[in-house]
Symmetry: C2
Subunit: 324 residues, 2 copies
């Protein structure tokens, strides 16, 4: 075993409380006042070595179920009145200290690499307009350049080489069939956070652009089977509480449909316009307006500066401008 490996082993131990206390703040990478989360970069040293980059992914804790009933009597240490108007009274407040009700949760990444730092940093984002021409000349060649093994994991699911125990529903038919399974983001327990993914068996649809009226049987089959199956499997969920949608750009180029509960808005970006397309709207457009709607349409979406497509999109002038 080389000394390199030894070093590696050493740094991967759990930092002590004294070391944590000495975390040297460098900068805020990103934060979101709405969700009360902040990513910060700093240095953490292990006793014998140079300090290494460390990232803290911080999130304030939610009020707990056991906490709310006793809040006022036992948990609130101090009310600090700030203003009032008629029946409205505003306060800030401090809670008592209790390990049972932590103030925050945090993930420490240590040592952190450049990739981690980029991943958890704010990234400038731009609205771009993907015309059919831009799709053909930039996006489609990009999709075709992605090594096929990048979606080997999808094929492993479809051929049941992996995750087969997680499959909730399989419809085997070649042109309209699919596999339905829980998304990794779902705990599979909290119904109102339900998040499933339906992955189609056929391999010839890379994204929404490839859809035409010949796919209506597939799209309608997905819709019907999912709306039928989910309320049967999870009593307490109604079919009119399910949001079925597709992303463009998707995170991988094999056609799949997202299935979430209406109340699941922990995925705010994921259900926003300029990213998500309702399956019902897709069916409407192909059936009622144009058999090649998604070949002809200009799609508007958000692209981050770090996206591999961004440089070319920028060069060709795809960013939203005053002219339509």
């Amino acid at each position: 075993m080389s000394s390199q490996v030894n070093d590696d082993t050493k740094i991967r131990r759990v930092p002590t409380n004294e070391e944590l206390k000495e975390f040297e703040f460098i900068q805020v990478l990103n934060e979101d006042p709405r969700t009360k989360t902040a990513n910060i970069l700093g240095k953490l040293k292990s006793s014998s070595e140079e300090p290494k980059d460390a990232i803290l992914l911080l999130e304030k804790s939610h009020f707990g179920n056991q906490e709310l009933p006793i809040l006022s009597k036992e948990r609130i240490l101090q009310w600090i009145a700030t203003d009032n108007n008629d029946i409205y009274h505003w306060y800030n407040g401090l809670l008592t200290k209790d390990e049972k009700f932590p103030d925050f949760k945090v993930t420490l990444i240590w040592p952190a690499t450049e990739t981690h730092i980029r991943k958890y940093s704010f990234q400038p984002r731009f609205l771009i307009r993907e015309t059919p021409h831009i799709y053909e000349t930039i996006v489609k060649p990009y999709i075709e350049s992605i090594p096929p093994n990048r979606i080997q994991w999808v094929y492993n699911i479809l051929s049941k080489k992996s995750e087969s125990e997680r499959i909730l529903l399989e419809v085997e038919e070649e042109s309209t069939g699919f596999i339905l399974l829980p998304d990794m983001k779902w705990d599979t327990v909290t119904l109102e956070n339900l998040y499933l993914i339906a992955i189609v068996h056929r391999r010839d649809i890379r994204c929404i652009r490839d859809l035409n009226d010949s796919h209506l049987p597939l799209l309608k089959n997905l819709r019907r089977q999912i709306l039928q199956f989910v309320p049967q499997k999870y009593s307490g969920i109604r079919s009119d509480e399910l949001r079925l949608f597709v992303h463009h750009l998707p995170s991988y180029y094999h056609f799949h449909v997202h299935v979430t509960h209406l109340r699941n808005d922990t995925i705010a970006g994921g259900i926003a316009i300029a990213k998500a397309y309702l399956l019902d709207d897709i069916i409407e457009n192909l059936e009622k307006f144009a058999q090649d709607y998604y070949k002809k349409v200009t799609l508007t979406y958000i692209l981050g500066e770090n996206d591999p497509l961004f440089p070319q999109m920028n060069d060709i002038g795809a960013r939203v401008t005053v002219d339509v």
Copy 2:
């Protein structure tokens, strides 16, 4: 002055800290783990009277700018390790108590009425499909039944009887003109939370359903003028950071366009599919696919149980079902 009025005056005073401590919990009305907010109902008594209903609208505080740099050294009282894997280390933690950094902010509504309780309670919501037929027979008559004075405030803005000092831009032209002003939800300072509303001068467009290709000059003028004006007015905002969209159902039936910064996702529901329609997509549909696209299309959206339209929509079978 009647004793009733006296009683009223008495209850509208600020509750004492002792009274707050005696808040009697009844139930959780609504909560959102993502935003760390909870609405709870209880009873609060004023010394001489019967306890009255009181609502607490609680929200955890965000990490502050002054807090993050000193977090580890001065603010974190205790790290509680929960798990670790390779370079990832998870903790819960407690913060030190400091009035400068409150744990939560809260609005107390006291005494609260039934209306307040309903407003802050969870409301069951349903996905419904508004076919052209359902629009004609249920929604349109409903819109026409709304007393015109309900949007008098809009006409007051357009005729500059009110809020005229808030106007940012006016384009006076009768058929393509509009007034642009900040939405009440925007503090008018934080650029990344920018939220403006463009209200058109013409009074003949009630909602997206009324739009056809004859309105393309209006829609394109809105787009062009707004994308030109906002970056001039607020340096630091680019035109490709602006999201222009329309709601259906809107909150009032006079055509208006929402203008927000891409980073403003504090309005998660407001930019979600099945609610928001990108102005660029509306233009695409009218220009490229059908001059009467919004007359023909079936629109899918979320309706709450308390919505005045819900009972009729429910009766006619508009809720999403397995059949398309």
